[in-house]
Point group: C2
Chain length 359, copies 2
């Protein structure tokens, strides 16, 4: 398996990407490839004790092969350009042909890489995936899926979509439910995952016309659909898959993240304000650390773009080395379970989507 990661995506690239790749290599035997400016990435790999294969025909291979001290394989794929978060995605993807994102996705398309991970621009990653890989036949709109912790349950639920669709239609929401269920079933082994839809109230007739119609479609589908769920109840983890559109999903995910951050910051501050509180914090230290680690509301591992013809994972923009490592580790089962093909099969087999296939 060849896992390809964008060397230049995110706030802490390229250093943390390289360090994350090193950490991941301790746990898996797959080839880990980094795409980015050749000299820069090669220098960083060398600094981590990796050895380039001087006998390799880099021109013919299309990459520089490396080996670390444990004999694990790395590759550096050259890409000289970068797409920034400030660029309009569609324009950027067309303009920056030699960017890490465009070239990275193209390597998945050609089969050279099995999966591409990037902490770069979500919009460019999505647009690039759509333009280069295309949608799976029958899929109307891809959805970005991310795991969200069920606090206190040592478990997660999948939220889909968290940013791909800002102008939702009922059929998109149904398809997010189908793709999310398949993904959770394959990757987590959950049989018949419980699906709910994020809405402004629990009753069937809540929300705008799109959500009312989506409720009917989900209810009539073969999914294990339990109904609507309000933002107040999602954090308690009532189901396996939460269906939402990209706008509301983004608001949900980022609000949860922001509230958790502001609470942890406030706890930290308050517990240093008095001597008694300081002492108390010291005694409760282990439990407070546990809380902090459970409250990781930023995307865990990578967020796959479900519904495109290839494996692409978005990694959180402020990821550090451990986060990149985690994302690389999560990529393995994603490839092994062949999520893309299984979604394609399910969409083809799904009677509710017959209409969509004729597009």
């Amino acid at each position: 398996m060849n896992i390809l990661i964008d060397g230049m995506g995110g706030d802490n690239s390229p250093v943390d990407v390289i360090k994350g790749a090193m950490l991941a290599a301790k746990q898996i035997d797959e080839t880990i490839s980094i795409i980015g400016p050749k000299e820069r990435i090669c220098t960083l790999l060398a600094a981590e004790g990796c050895q380039a294969d001087d006998t390799a025909d880099v021109e013919a291979l299309g990459y520089v092969p490396f080996t670390n001290k444990d004999g694990k394989a790395f590759r550096v794929y050259p890409a000289s350009d970068i797409i920034t978060n400030n660029e309009a995605p569609a324009m950027a993807v067309r303009k920056h042909k030699d960017s890490t994102i465009v070239r990275g996705i193209s390597l998945v398309k050609s089969g050279e890489a099995d999966i591409f991970l990037s902490a770069g621009s979500t919009g460019a990653l999505l647009t690039g995936s759509l333009l280069i890989l295309g949608r799976i036949k029958g899929v109307k709109r891809p959805g970005i899926a991310t795991f969200f912790p069920k606090i206190g349950q040592n478990d997660t639920m999948l939220i889909v979509d968290v940013g791909a669709s800002v102008d939702p239609k009922p059929e998109y929401l149904l398809q997010f439910g189908i793709m999310g269920s398949i993904f959770v079933n394959l990757v987590k082994g959950v049989e018949n995952p419980a699906v709910m839809m994020l809405n402004v109230g629990a009753e069937a007739e809540k929300g705008d016309e799109v959500h009312k119609e989506a409720y009917r479609l989900l209810m009539d589908s073969s999914l294990n659909f339990l109904g609507n769920v309000e933002g107040r109840d999602v954090p308690f983890g009532p189901c396996d898959v939460v269906v939402t559109d990209g706008f509301a999903g983004n608001i949900f995910l980022k609000t949860a993240e922001g509230v958790a951050l502001v609470i942890m910051k406030t706890i930290k501050q308050k517990l240093t304000e008095t001597t008694a509180a300081k002492l108390g914090a010291l005694l409760a230290k282990n439990k407070l650390y546990e809380l902090k680690s459970e409250l990781n509301y930023s995307e865990e591992g990578g967020a796959p773009i479900l519904g495109v013809n290839g494996a692409v994972l978005k990694v959180h923009g402020n990821s550090k080395a451990e986060d990149f490592c985690n994302a690389i580790l999560k990529a393995v089962p994603y490839v092994n379970h062949n999520v893309t093909r299984r979604i394609a099969e399910a969409i083809l087999a799904n009677k509710e989507l017959q209409g969509a296939q004729n597009e």
Copy 2:
């Protein structure tokens, strides 16, 4: 001033409504009126030591006058019917003519009451306000506004709309900004309030077409508009007014509430798991209580329906006596500042809304 409160709205009515009214009467001299089933409400008032005026002509007055031990005035307005949360609002308002909500809003319309507060169905309260009071001339859509704590800053910001508009248009969002600014200026005394719009990214071109156009309208307006804000940043309190549509606003508010609840629950649980943690919690007790009280993400006081021709405040459905008291206290400046009239004047004077006035 006659402050009218729905005796039957919310999970803890009527007992907590009455207790809340009693608490509020200790702090203000205004007449506090309760609307609901006459016998039941009168019995509860009597149980709180209030004395009915036996000489009053209840038929002619339309209410039963009471006085408490401190000489504060209360009234009981009779309404035998209740609208539940499970009923479709438009139908319910038309059907239940003698409900607390319909009769309560009608008493504002007639001028008998200066403001109506209810912890009952938001939809019925909104629909009833629209049908009975009507929109302020030029206002396209009312917005429900609620204060949200700026954690650690001992301050709040206003979020508008949190549930009135599920199918937003750009002009609605502009008007929410205008109405919210006026409200914050009048009630909190903030000069030129800083306004931001909840969106999926900070850049101008983020979000769907509605938000892109709303961004342009807000930027071109005379408001102190600082741009878009993401869900992750709102909890840190970057502005005075957050403009959003009712769908995203509801998701934002309820997610914040749910995450705060799940975190407080987890802290409580974790800090009892070991002896050291228990002792630590005991020592840090005061600071942990402070945290809990700051983290009140459920609507504070009451959430006014801005843009209708009269003062109507939605109170949180799970309010307890202190919350009802708080809402009654917040009603006083709302009436004193004549928020409704000031919004009407501002909308009339606002050049950006000239088009809307010709509807």
